[in-house]
């Protein structure tokens, strides 16, 4: 049952979350990842084209043990420094695919903004990285589970692979992000 719901989620991710250019590559990932993911709780059914997670369904994304390095960026359209650093994450995602690096953009936009701000932003900027929504109001419970160091400010970024994990409550330039990433892929 769990595997099946995982498959449904991943089909959804595949349908909505991936850009057609990278679709072939993602498809192979999907089979690989299907054991690690549970179905998202699709809150406010139909209100966003991006998958909506609560923290319980989101947590497996922080603990995958495959060969990839994940850059998980927490952001929102109303957060100016988040928007300013977005091109750097996009560039890293494009440049580092061969090194098995995947950027996941975790939007903390409020439900009322999904259609009005988040989707238009992602579309107009042609964002290629995977976008998901974390919608769980019990922030005091889940913020420390992502990192004990995190006070709750965004932008915030988690970089991890199966060997190593680092958390950053700060903004990045392209060079800074790249330098941090090198510690994971070299």
């Amino acid at each position: 049952m769990r595997d099946f719901s995982g498959f449904v989620l991943l089909s959804l991710l595949f349908l909505f979350g991936c850009n057609s250019k990278t679709a072939d590559k993602k498809e192979s990932d999907i089979t690989e990842q299907s054991t690690h993911l549970e179905a998202p709780i699709l809150l406010n059914d139909g209100t966003s084209k991006f998958p909506v997670y609560d923290f319980t369904s989101f947590e497996p994304l922080l603990n995958r043990e495959d060969d990839k390095t994940y850059i998980i960026n927490f952001w929102a359209t109303w957060c100016k420094p988040c928007i300013e650093e977005m091109p750097h994450f996009e560039r890293i995602n494009a440049e580092q695919q061969e090194n098995n690096v995947e950027v996941i953009l975790v939007s903390l936009d409020m439900p009322s903004m999904w259609k009005t701000r988040l989707e238009p932003y992602v579309e107009s900027k042609g964002i290629q990285s995977r976008v998901v929504i974390l919608d769980d109001p019990k922030q005091n419970d889940w913020i420390p589970k992502i990192s004990e160091e995190w006070g709750g400010g965004i932008p915030a970024t988690l970089i991890y692979n199966k060997n190593k994990k680092s958390f950053y409550e700060r903004s990045f330039t392209y060079d800074e992000l790249n330098a941090e990433l090198q510690k994971f892929i070299n």
């Binding site: 109303w78 957060c79 903390l108 409020m110 109001p137 019990k138 400010g153 965004i154």
Partner: protein, 204 residues
């Protein structure tokens, strides 16, 4: 040559000091049990407000908030409700906008006045002019609450964090962090949850 070397050293030293003091600011701010400094800031009604003005108060809810942050806006009605509930019990809300209006035009003093009138704020809404107060407290985002208890030793920080555990929907709140803290403080009971975390808008 020696001069150049000395200048280089000086530049390095200045950079180090500048860097470390900035770092220092980020890491400081009040913890639970610290004495909070008073301030003197301009209110939307044109008067200047200090904590010392409240002779009868038993404490204060100093809330860093603003006009422009969606989280702050989501909590406006609940901040008004906190003031309605606790001002008469001796713990008034003192709202402080920590943002620099030059960086955030929507948080200018004029816009603050407009918002206070629109929403019928029953509490002072102060501008942290020159942004001196929020770093002293260690506020990092809006909304960010500091509950202070007035004692002979000064205003002691009793709680730091979020108002409650559901920004989206006041009717779905399970834990009222601030209310629980004030209630405990007023009867001299130990506050159970003294700090909480929440997503908020960074102060600009």
């Amino acid at each position: 040559m020696k001069t150049i070397k000395n200048i280089g050293l000086l530049v390095l030293l200045v950079a180090l000091v500048a860097f470390s003091s900035e770092k220092f600011n980020l890491d400081t701010g009040y913890g639970i049990g610290d004495v909070a400094a008073d301030f003197s800031l301009k209110n939307v009604d044109g008067n200047t407000v200090s904590l010392a003005d409240y002779e009868e108060a038993k404490g204060f809810l100093v809330i860093f908030t603003c006009n422009t942050c969606p989280y702050a806006v989501a909590y406006e009605d609940r901040i008004i409700a906190l003031d309605a509930k606790y001002k008469s019990l001796g713990v008034p809300v003192i709202a402080v906008n920590p943002n620099n209006p030059a960086a955030k035009p929507g948080d200018s003093f004029e816009k603050m006045k407009e918002r206070a009138t629109e929403k019928g704020f029953t509490f002072p809404y102060l501008l942290d002019e020159g942004q001196k107060v929020y770093p002293q407290y260690g506020a990092t985002k809006t909304p960010h609450v500091y509950l202070l208890e007035k004692t002979d030793e000064g205003n002691i920080v009793r709680y730091i964090g979020a108002i409650d555990d559901n920004y989206q929907d006041a009717s779905q709140v399970d834990e009222r962090f601030v209310e629980n803290a004030v209630d405990a403080m007023l009867v001299g009971r130990e506050i159970e949850v003294k700090t909480t975390r929440a997503i908020g808008c960074g102060i600009k």
